[in-house]
């Protein structure tokens, strides 16, 4: 009982075990298992009334051909698609430069009762792939066409 060094060691050992246990729980406990990072349009639409006017994230693909960009008013409208369902998204301000048709996006905002998703934050979901251009493809072309404000194809 009187050996303080022994007690100090014991304290450190017990604390280490607890710390390791908590870390194991963090890493393996699948804590984020039931977190929904973003709703797909299908999921959002199936929520019905509960989906309106709440802070939610919506994710999917920019529906090809749906992008309407008003460069003067910095006003962007496009549809987010997943499978067959689409949701119209309205966003203010310039989009990220990698924004284009078919790109994966996540928008944060509120789904209004008039059926428009009012986006406060538009994010590109860039894949982790880095690829050399395929034959005949010129790098950065998609960039430039996007920066001109047109809808890239």
């Amino acid at each position: 009982m009187s050996n303080a060094n022994g007690r100090k060691t014991a304290t450190v050992v017990i604390a280490s075990v607890i710390v390791v246990g908590a870390f194991t729980y963090l890493m393996l406990g699948n804590i984020e298992g039931d977190v929904v990072y973003f709703y797909t349009p299908t999921e959002l639409l199936s929520k019905g009334d509960a989906a309106y006017d709440r802070a939610v994230r919506l994710g999917g693909q920019v529906s090809p051909g749906s992008v309407q960009w008003n460069a003067e008013a910095l006003d962007l409208k496009f549809k987010v698609r997943e499978g067959t369902k689409e949701v119209l998204v309205h966003s203010k301000g310039a989009p990220p430069q990698m924004f284009r048709d078919g790109m994966g996006v996540v928008v944060e905002g509120r789904y209004r009762r008039d059926g428009v998703f009012e986006s406060k934050n538009l994010m590109i979901k860039h894949s982790e792939e880095y690829r050399a251009p395929k034959a005949g493809e010129r790098p950065q072309e998609m960039y430039r066409s996007l920066m001109k404000g047109g809808t890239a194809s």
Binding site: F23, P96, E129, Y130, R131, M142, Y143
Partner: protein, 243 residues
């Protein structure tokens, strides 16, 4: 007497007696060569074009900063275990270089972020947790500046280093949950070998620089400390003979 000469002896022992200065120069040269190799051999990325080349310094800097932080944590644990001043100096040296590399990672990340994401700074997991890591390094170094007594400084910074290290994975995890949109870690599967190989070479070259710098800082810290010890002894003896 013997106690005062010990750090000097340790400072010039075989391991730390390697020509670290030359190794550092060699490492820097290797890094420059690897950068040139990377820029010349790999084609522009499909989406990012030549901007992708920033990767060759940005990613190795981040990796090596993590290695430095790991050294800080291990040396701190060892200090608390054994109480050897040398471990404290090792942790301090690693923290200095680590904070430098973290700063470099952040700066390059911003340069990369502007053209690709369209913003200098974004609140996503990698940038944010790297910034937190940077702050923890800085707090560690500032703590060292604010504490004068060497034993106290060593023990406190060891404790701060260990708790900081415990926090790194939690910070990363929480920030990843908070913003989940950064690309996940690249691997040979998602990265064409034409990018992957130069990346690895650059990382190794930077690691040589890192090790050489830590060794160099460590050695000069040891010598400074030995000199301080000798000075203390001399002052003590002089005082003794005068009285």
């Amino acid at each position: 007497m013997t106690a005062s000469t010990m750090p000097l002896a340790a400072a010039s022992d075989r391991r730390s007696g390697l020509p670290w200065g030359w190794i550092a120069v060699g490492g820097v040269l290797a890094l420059v060569a690897a950068q040139v190799y990377g820029v010349l051999t790999s084609p522009p990325d499909r989406d990012m074009g030549h901007l992708q080349k920033i990767m060759y310094l940005h990613v190795p800097a981040a990796w090596n900063a993590f290695i430095a932080f790991f050294v800080v944590a291990v040396a701190s644990l060892r200090y608390l275990w054994k109480g050897r001043a040398a471990d404290d100096l090792l942790a301090a040296s690693a923290a200095e270089i680590g904070s430098l590399l973290t700063g470099l990672t952040l700066a390059l990340g911003m340069l990369w972020g502007k053209p690709t994401w369209g913003i200098w700074w974004t609140w996503e997991p990698r940038t944010t947790s790297t910034a937190v890591l940077f702050f923890m390094f800085l707090a560690y170094l500032i703590l060292r500046k604010f504490v004068d007594d060497p034993e106290r400084r060593a023990q406190w910074s060891a404790v701060v280093g260990i708790l900081g290290a415990l926090n790194v994975p939690i910070v990363y995890m929480s920030v990843r949950w908070w913003r989940t949109l950064h690309q996940v870690q690249g691997s040979p599967m998602t990265l064409d070998s034409t990018y992957y190989i130069p990346l690895r070479i650059n990382a190794v070259a930077l690691m040589i620089v890192l090790v050489a710098f830590i060794a160099h800082r460590y050695r000069s810290a040891m010598i400074t400390q030995a000199a301080d010890d000798l000075e203390d002894r001399a002052a003590l003896m002089e005082g003794g003979s005068r009285a």
